[in-house]
Amino acid sequence: MRRWLEGLKQLRRYPSAVLGTGLILFLIGLAVYTVVAIPYSQALDLWRGGEQWRMHPVNASPVWTDRLRGGDLPETQIISSADVPPEEQPFPGGRRLRIPLSFDYDSSAFPSEINLFLAAEEQARAPFVRLIWQAPDGREEVLGGRRMAREERISISQDWALERRLGHIPHVGLMLDPETADRPDPAVLQGTHTLLLDVVLFDENAGLDADLVVYGRVHGVAGTDHQRRDLMVALMWGTPVALAFGLLAAVGTTVTTLVIAAMGVWYRGWVDAVIQRLTEVNMILPMLPILVMVGTLYSTSIWLMLGVVVALGIFSAGIKMYRAMLLPIREAPYIEAARAYGASNARIILRYMVPRVLPVLIPTFVTLIPTFVFLEASLAVLGLGDPVLPTWGKVLNDAQEQSALYNGFYYWVLSPAFLLMLTGLGFAMLGFALDRVFNPRLRNL
């Protein structure tokens, strides 16, 4: 015990160890916070995507990167009819509502998309809606009218007829400064734009909910992906997944390897021979191709991958190293003493032999963790990530599939890569310092 405490004290002398520990603590903190803030089932649900992300922009970059560059790209604005008092005109058998959904627009870039979400409760006859766009300079553009279903999404940006009439994509055509309409890069008309909803309801009491979403070009801390999902979910949830995978794989492989090496040394004879031969067979098995094979043929569940990694890691080359270390220990007098008092084989192996080499194991163990974290990311980049879990590697894979670099969505690649790098550096720095503390030959170098 004293030896360990001394080692820890010495560790404080290495700035890299302090920095590494800091990084690891930060990651652990982030992981714990994530698991508490976004429970597992909710994270899976969020990452599955779909309707719940409908009010998020597609491929929006993080807000802060734009602001740092001095840009003023728009953020998403949601204008809800609940906040606007409607103008009401009753008539026999129903009423007519005029809902002005207005918003201030002061960015110099156009929004990325405009959608209108309508929801009406069960009504005897479907209500009728007419849409009129009112620009700040008083122009009016009628977007057409339609009978609406119970729930409706009106994609104003994808109205081809409107696009032909305006000569631009609707969200550009509706919001541009008319004087610049003929230029190849029209300017935004800043000010208060309004989408006026002229609704005829054939019901005395029933209402209508409308949400006008003016999608921005930047979103949140992490931005969004091609399915409108907030990347923050994956970046945050990637942390506990990566740490758990790395830690479990590292524990699984090092501990089993050590125990098996100790068993071989203790029992000698055929046990040792079998272990040695298995190690040699394992050495020529290409790990990654086998993992890829298992991933494609069986399942890409992260737990199966973990199992295979551990199974292939048990008889790793480390056995030879531990064997060399354990061989002299076998003949040590204290082992003889243990045998004399009648300690069982298991007791000698687990309580007498294994603890002796643990200090040498610790640095290896710590430096192994990032290897496995990157292994998981590698598999995900190859498209063999866990089908449901959000991980950093899967974000990278999505980015690669959507040609993020080619399209200029650098944030999509850089943020998961940054977190991966942080994990790698944190553990590697601590591991290197530990190596020098616990391996006496290196201490003075």
Binding site: E280, M283, M293, L297, A317, F374, L405, A417, L442
Partner: protein, 372 residues
């Protein structure tokens, strides 16, 4: 080296013959052991690749689906009654099953696979074919092998030579600014090469488009030999730099530590005390005794990099073995998958054998004790 001065020449030749004989026995034993190892490894691979026979069921469903589709779509069979058509489908399915040997039990077929795999008769691919059009798995693999060997051979050799050379220098200037910065940079090697590759692609292919982002030559390949070479070099630059970046600091660090430990040995101190020139100390007193560990670690590095190839090749779209494995898995082409893993296993085994042999030559203890 083994003979001492003052011993008569016949004893010396006899000693040499004895050495050669022991080396032969030693390498023969190792070769046999490795052959058995490869056998076990390849059989395991076959078992995993076939999911213990379950893949066959998937393939049966696939075959049946494809054949019924083909029969239904063929206008020649339009006016058949449905019974006749079903009969035809059954007959064709049987034929296909027989062609693919699916009617034998898996255990039998697995030994058949093993026997042929060991003889490097890797069979015919089910879906894929080589660029030259051959369906033989061996041809497909051999076509891809040079690309992998070119990239990984160059990178490994470069990393090895540069790191040993730099490490020797650093171990003499131990504690200098450069030395400390290399030690500080060593943890950066926690990230694999493809990770750096991604950034390199981002910077050098997209932000300042100077180099191609993937592939091995421009399409269409240039006619001129020199131009072809230049194109390959340009395409190789980024993956090479990626591997170099991810490996160089850690290997310099470990070599430097290694040399430092060995240069504090008593016999080196003794040589210093005698006043021998520094380069002589380095060559005779540091490099010679550490030669076998150096070679070992070089070959071990090779082993480690063989399997890392898949992802780097995938990221850079390099037409090598790694990309092949990935494509084969996409096609569920079992013979190709097994074939590649067999080739990987052979390459690894060859590396290990080379290691043993070099060890025997470099380390006199192996020669004298006959590999005990």
């Amino acid at each position: 080296m083994s003979a001492l001065p003052g011993i008569d020449p016949t004893a010396r030749t006899r000693g040499r013959w004895r050495d050669v004989w022991r080396m032969l026995i030693f390498s023969g034993k190792r070769l046999l052991a490795l052959l058995l190892t490869v056998l076990a490894g390849v059989y395991l691979t076959i078992l995993i690749a076939n999911m213990g026979g379950q893949v066959d069921e998937l393939r049966m469903v696939q075959i049946r689906g494809e054949i019924s589709e083909a029969v239904r779509a063929d206008p020649a069979f339009q006016d058949m009654s449905s019974e006749e058509r079903n009969e035809l489908i059954e007959r064709q399915v049987d034929l296909e099953v027989e062609r693919l040997n699916l009617d034998q039990p898996f255990i039998l077929r697995s030994f058949d696979y093993l026997y042929r795999a060991m003889l490097l008769d890797l069979g015919r691919a089910e879906q894929m074919h080589s660029d030259a059009g051959s369906r033989q798995v061996f041809d497909i693999i051999v076509e891809r092998l040079p690309a992998t060997l070119l990239l990984f051979g160059t990178a490994n050799l470069l990393i090895f030579l540069v790191s040993v050379w730099v490490a020797l220098h650093l171990s003499r200037r131990y504690g200098s600014m450069l030395d400390r910065s290399v030690v500080g940079l060593a943890p950066s090697s926690a990230a694999p090469a493809w990770f750096y590759g991604m950034f390199l692609i981002l910077i050098f292919a997209f932000v300042l488009p100077a180099l191609p982002s993937g592939g091995m030559v421009t399409a269409p390949p240039p006619e001129d030999r020199l131009e072809y070479l230049a194109s390959v070099v340009r395409h190789m630059a980024l993956p090479l730099v990626a591997m170099f970046l991810s490996q160089i600091f850690i290997s310099i660090y470990s070599w430097r530590t290694f040399f430092l430990i060995h240069s504090s040995e008593d016999y080196v101190e003794m040589a210093r005390a005698k006043g021998l020139p520094e380069h002589l100390i380095q060559r005779r007193y540091i490099l010679r005794p550490t030669l076998s560990p150096i070679v070992t670690s070089f070959l071990l590095m090779l082993i480690g990099l063989w399997s890392g190839a898949i992802i780097l090749e995938q990221v850079f779209n390099w037409p090598g073995l790694g990309t092949l494995v990935f494509q084969a898995i996409g096609h569920r082409d079992t013979p190709v998958i097994i074939g590649t893993v067999v080739i990987f296993a052979y390459l690894l085994a060859a590396t290990v054998f080379l290691l043993d042999l070099l060890y025997g030559i470099l380390d006199p203890r192996v020669r004298i004790e006959g590999g005990r």
